[in-house]
C-alpha cells in the first residue's frame, strides 16, 4: 500500500504540472504544424477568402477538440455528470469547475495557432487581397477595368510570380498593407487573450474563494477515489485469478488421482516449497491434459474453499502439507450443496 500511496501522491501533486506540460506540448506542436504546413493561396477571386479563413479557423477547432481528447479528466467529468444520484448528491459547482479548468487548458493551443497565423500574415493576405483599397494605394490614372477584371487581378496579389497588375497597384505595397493589418489584428488578439486570462485569474480570489476551494477539493477527491477504486479492483482481480487458477490445478490433480485410482507418491519432506508449487502435476502427460482442459473448459468464476480429502481417492492422512486441514471440512458440504 505504501508504494501506491507514493504513486498517488506523485500524481496528485503533479497532476496540475502534468496537464500544464501537455498543454505546453500542444502549443509547441501547433507552431510546428504551422511552420511545416505548405500554405498555397489559390489566387482565384472567390476561393481566396474560403481558403484563407479556413486555414485560420479550422485547425484551431481541431486543436481545441484534441485538447479535450488528450485530457484524462474528460471521462471523469462525463462519469460524474451522468451517474445516478444514489446516496450521494451531485454538486453542479464541482462539474463547472472541472469543465472550466479543462476548457481553459484546451484553449491554449488554438489561441497560439490563431496568433501565429495572424502575426505571420499569409492567411489574411490571401483572404482579403481582393478588398485592398485600390483608390488610395494604387494608380488612379490606370485605364478603367471591369469589376470582375479588377477582382481577378487583385486575387493574384499573393502569387507574385503570376501577378500582372503592377500598373494598377504595386504588389509590394498591397502585401505590406495587408500584412500590417494582419499583424495589428494578431497583436490585438494576443492582448485580448492575455487580458482575459489575467482578469479570470485575478478576479477569482475577489469573489467566491470559499466556493472555489470546495470545488477544487471535491474534484481532486473524485479523481483520487476513481484511481483508488481501480487499484482495489485490480488487486481483487489478481487475487481472484490466483485463487481460481490454484483451485483449477487442484481440481485437475484430484480428478487425475481419482481416475488413476492409485495413491499419490509421497514427496520427500525435504523437497519443500518447490514441490508445493507443482500443485500435484508432475509429469508431461498430466501437464498436457491440464493445458488442454484450461483451453477447452475454463473453470466457472466462482471460488470455493480449497479441496478436502474425502472418501474418493485421497488417502487423507499422510498427505504432503500442501493444504491446511481445517477449511477442507467444508468441501464435502459444498459439493453436496451444489
Amino acid at each position: 500500500m505504501d508504494k501506491f500511496r507514493m504513486i498517488f501522491q506523485f500524481f496528485q501533486s503533479n497532476q496540475e504540472s502534468f496537464m500544464n506540460g501537455i498543454c505546453g506540448i500542444m502549443a509547441l506542436a501547433s507552431t510546428q504544424m504551422y511552420s511545416a504546413f505548405d500554405f498555397n493561396c489559390p489566387c482565384l477571386p472567390h476561393y481566396n477568402l474560403a481558403y484563407g479563413l479556413g486555414i485560420l479557423l479550422l485547425p484551431p477547432f481541431i486543436l481545441f477538440l484534441l485538447g479535450f481528447v488528450l485530457n484524462n479528466n474528460i471521462s471523469m467529468l462525463a462519469e460524474e455528470w451522468r451517474r445516478p444520484q444514489g446516496q450521494r448528491g451531485k454538486d453542479p459547482a464541482v462539474l463547472r469547475y472541472m469543465f472550466c479548468s479543462m476548457a481553459q487548458r484546451a484553449m491554449i493551443a488554438p489561441a497560439v495557432w490563431v496568433s501565429v497565423t495572424l502575426l505571420d500574415g499569409k492567411c489574411i493576405t490571401c483572404a482579403f487581397c481582393t478588398s485592398v483599397p485600390v483608390e488610395t494605394l494604387g494608380n488612379a490614372s490606370h485605364p478603367r477595368l471591369s469589376q470582375g477584371e479588377i477582382q481577378r487581378v487583385l486575387a493574384r496579389i499573393p502569387c507574385k510570380e503570376i501577378y500582372n497588375g503592377q500598373q494598377l497597384i504595386a504588389n509590394e505595397v498591397a502585401i505590406r498593407y495587408l500584412r500590417c493589418i494582419s499583424q495589428a489584428l494578431g497583436w490585438c488578439f494576443v492582448l485580448l487573450m492575455t487580458t482575459l486570462a489575467f482578469l479570470v485569474r485575478s478576479l477569482r480570489p475577489c469573489f467566491s474563494q470559499a466556493a472555489f476551494l470546495k470545488s477544487r477539493y471535491w474534484s481532486h477527491y473524485i479523481d483520487i477515489e476513481r484511481k483508488l477504486f481501480d487499484e482495489t479492483c485490480a488487486e481483487h482481480a489478481r487475487s481472484f485469478a490466483k485463487v481460481c487458477i490454484q483451485q483449477f490445478f487442484e481440481g485437475m490433480s484430484t480428478d487425475l488421482v481419482a481416475a488413476r485410482c492409485h495413491l499419490p507418491r509421497k514427496a520427500p519432506a525435504s523437497a519443500g516449497e518447490a514441490t508445493e508449487k507443482l500443485l500435484g502435476i508432475t509429469d508431461q502427460g498430466t501437464m498436457n491434459m491440464a493445458l488442454k482442459s484450461w483451453h477447452r473448459c475454463k473453470p466457472p468464476l466462482h471460488l470455493h474453499p480449497p479441496a478436502l480429502p474425502t472418501g474418493n481417492g485421497w488417502a487423507g492422512e499422510g498427505q504432503p502439507p500442501m493444504h491446511p486441514s481445517a477449511p477442507r471440512k467444508e468441501t464435502a458440504a459444498y459439493y453436496s450443496w451444489v
Binding site: Q9, R88, E172, F198, F240, H302
Partner: protein
C-alpha cells in the same frame, strides 16, 4: 512526515529562485519573440506611426500581464488582500511588500522588449520617418509637401522601387537609428542606476519593517502550500476509507442475501484477504454496478463506529 518536511524546505528556500527563474525565462522569451517577429513597416503615411508605436508598446503590456499571471505570488497576495479578517488581522505592509516584489519581477520582460526595440531601431525609423523635416535632406528638399510625405513614409522600405535610386533614405535611416539607440542606452542607464540606488538605499529606511514583511509574506506562501498538500493527503485517506467501507457493506449485503456462512479468518490464505468476501462473477458484477448506480455517501464516520 520527513519527506514532507524535505519538500517544504525545498519550497521555502526556492520560492524566490523559482520566481526569478520564470522572470528570466520571460525576458529570454521576449528577446526571442522580437527576433522571430517579421517586422514589416507598411510605408504608408498614416499607418507608419500607428504600426511603429504599436509594436513598441503593445507587446510590453502583454509581457507584463504574462508576468503577473505566471507569478504564483500574485494569487497569494490577492487572497490575502480579499480575505475576511476573522481571527487573524491583516497586515497591509505584507501586502505592499508582495505587491512591489511582484511588480518588479513583472516589469523585467517589458523593459527588455522596449530596450531591444530601441537599440535595434526599426520601430522608431518606421514610426517617425514621416515626421522628418524634408528640407534637411538633399533628396527630399525639392519636391512638393505631399510627395515629400509619401517619400519619407517609404524610407523604411529599402526595396521599394522609389527608394532604390534615392540615396537620401540612408541619411534619414541613420539619423533616426542614432536617436533610437541613444534613447535606448539612456533608458537602460537610468533604469540600472535606479535599481542600484533602490537596492543600496533600502537598508537605510525601515529595515526592521522590511524584515517582518518579508518573513510574513514567506509564511503566507508556505502556509497555503501546506494547506493544499494536507487537503490532498486528506482526500486520499477519505477515498481509501470510503472504498473499504463500500466493499465491507457489499460483503454484508451478499452475506445477507446468499445464506452462505463463510468461515471467517480460520486458515484463510493471505491472498484471500484481498478478496474481501467477493468470490463470484455475479458478486463482482453486482459490486461494479452498485458502484456506478449508487455511490456510497461521503460519510466515513460509520466505518469508525463499526
Amino acid at each position: 512526515m520527513d519527506r514532507f518536511r524535505m519538500i517544504f524546505q525545498y519550497f521555502q528556500s526556492n520560492s524566490e529562485s523559482v520566481m526569478n527563474g520564470i522572470c528570466g525565462l520571460l525576458a529570454l522569451a521576449s528577446v526571442k519573440m522580437y527576433t522571430s517577429f517579421d517586422f514589416s513597416c507598411p510605408c504608408l503615411p498614416q499607418y507608419n506611426m500607428a504600426y511603429g508605436l504599436g509594436i513598441m508598446f503593445v507587446p510590453p503590456i502583454i509581457l507584463f500581464l504574462c508576468g503577473l499571471i505566471l507569478n504564483r505570488q500574485s494569487l497569494v497576495m490577492l487572497e490575502e488582500w480579499r480575505r475576511p479578517p476573522g481571527h487573524r488581522k491583516k497586515d497591509l505592509a505584507v501586502i505592499r511588500y508582495l505587491c512591489s516584489s511582484i511588480m518588479q519581477r513583472a516589469m523585467v520582460a517589458p523593459v527588455v522588449w522596449f530596450i531591444v526595440t530601441l537599440l535595434d531601431g526599426k520601430c522608431l525609423i518606421c514610426a517617425f520617418s514621416g515626421s522628418m523635416d524634408p528640407q534637411k535632406f538633399v533628396g527630399f528638399a525639392n519636391v512638393s509637401t505631399v510627395q515629400a510625405q509619401q517619400l519619407l513614409a517609404k524610407v523604411p522600405c529599402k526595396d521599394d522601387e522609389l527608394m532604390r535610386n534615392n540615396t537620401s533614405h540612408k541619411a534619414v535611416t541613420r539619423y533616426l537609428r542614432c536617436w533610437s539607440q541613444a534613447l535606448g542606452w539612456s533608458i537602460l542607464l537610468i533604469l540600472i542606476i535606479a535599481a542600484f540606488l533602490a537596492r543600496w538605499l533600502r537598508p537605510c529606511f525601515n529595515q526592521a519593517t522590511l524584515l517582518q514583511a518579508r518573513h510574513w509574506s514567506n509564511y503566507i506562501d508556505i502556509e497555503q502550500k501546506i494547506f493544499e498538500e494536507t487537503c490532498c493527503e486528506h482526500s486520499r485517506l477519505f477515498a481509501h476509507k470510503c472504498i473499504l467501507h463500500f466493499f465491507e457493506s457489499m460483503r454484508q449485503e451478499i452475506k445477507l442475501h446468499s445464506f452462505i456462512l463463510p468461515r471467517e479468518g480460520e486458515g484463510a490464505e493471505g491472498g484471500e484477504d484481498l478478496l474481501r468476501g467477493i468470490t463470484d462473477q455475479d458478486q463482482v458484477n453486482k459490486l461494479l454496478k452498485t458502484w456506478y448506480y449508487e455511490k456510497p455517501p461521503l460519510d466515513v464516520s460509520q466505518a469508525h463506529q463499526r
